[in-house]
Amino acid sequence: MIPEVSQLFPQDNILGWIIQITWLAFFVVFMFYGQRIQMYVMLREVQSSLLRLKLIRDKGRKTTITTINELGKPKEDPTAKVDQFLEYIAIAPQNMDPSGIVWKLEHILDVRDTRFKDEVKLMAPEADETQINNLENTLEAALALNVIYKVIRHFYLLGKKTLSLYIIMQIQMVLPLVMKEAEAFASALKAFSSGQPIGDGAGALVAARLMLGHRKRKIAKDVVMATVPLEGRTAYVLKAEGPGGNVGKPGEAMKHIIEENGGKIATIIAIDAAQKLEGEKPGEVAEGVGVAIGGPGVEQYKVEETVLKYKIPVNAVIIKEDIGDAVSPMRKEIFDAVDVAIERIKRLILERTKKGDSLIIAGIGNTIGIGQ
């Protein structure tokens, strides 16, 4: 009993005419300009996210400058130096001939780290070592936010200029993930500027708990070690030197301990924070084998080379968290997971080593806000 379309929109009155014309116009517009309308909708969505990114980036920059002024008490305004720092680049080594690339990359990273520290010392002359490390981390987070904003702006303007659906579509599709990452860095920036422990420090916190009350010594660049008797074994527990923002060189430290003991290490247990999948709970603890050291891979490579030489088994204990949790102030679930991880380590030691053996326990991650 559906009436004819012409009956629906009678032409003998003006309202009927308007509705009929609008109805037809709707079809014509969507037939010829549907894709363009879709493109404008996407562009608008990207524009709104870009606006939010700009807000986050500017807030980050402002926080960085305020923190430098508060901690470093510089004689002159650090704004220009901060702006210069936000444009900093590090060029990765050429990989046409990959032989020896790890050492080239390590050298570039060392130079970058030294340069960053020197710049921060110039910007904040009154800051102590811990504060310099925290400020360096703060500036790195601000730099990351600036890069994210500029890349998204690049694709937005390119899409607008070329009106290419595919350029706009690819940026619109990854936008939720990019926004999540930007929000994580914004949160990290706040944590770094105040010196709060972050989720990535879960591994370092495990090591710090184990070495608490024992004598520590510096074993490699920015890494401390304590010899801890554990379940009748000798455990060399190491972590980055806190409480400043630091990851240190745990690979270098492990290599040094192995060489010092002439390769007589029964096992290595590395504890690190690892990316969780959606649906998994933050703070879940999992076990496995392999060298659990994140980052550019240089430290992982060093350990892999050394354990291969001495045939040392390597175990991994990971604490699961997403990218947002890894760089944001440590959430309670991750903090509570530290006790679970310690229990797993003790069980692993009992199962995988004999009484009197020596082993290495390495807490990997940024140790900001975590002492020892």
Binding site: P197, A208, K332, Q372
Partner: protein, 134 residues
Amino acid sequence: MSETAPSTKKFSFFFLAIVFITIALSIAAFFQAFDAYNVGQVENGHFFMLIGVSGLALSTYMVFQTRRRALRLTFTPPRIATTILCQKCGFKNIRDFERGDFIFKETEECPKCKEKMMINSIFREINEKKKRWG
């Protein structure tokens, strides 16, 4: 403490025009429906009523979508709690995080046993809704 973009253009002229045209057409459809019912064309009346209601719902949805987008421009920093624990008597003090706090830092004396207390934990608490697939 939440922060909002200071000068965010929340409505565009083009967007407002579409919303107003949709509302106007919806009202026109209601009039048509009224006329149709008056002359006894009940089925036509139903159809115009359907068009009117759909148009009105669409325009309301569009306005709410824009409001949601404006709200997404705000973010609230989380509360970070520092727990100070006396290793001897177990006295616990929880306060907001202060710059300079770090885990295992020795702090003030315990008010009960006068031993040095230590920062035992620093974390943020999140009250998440229970997820179906979590």
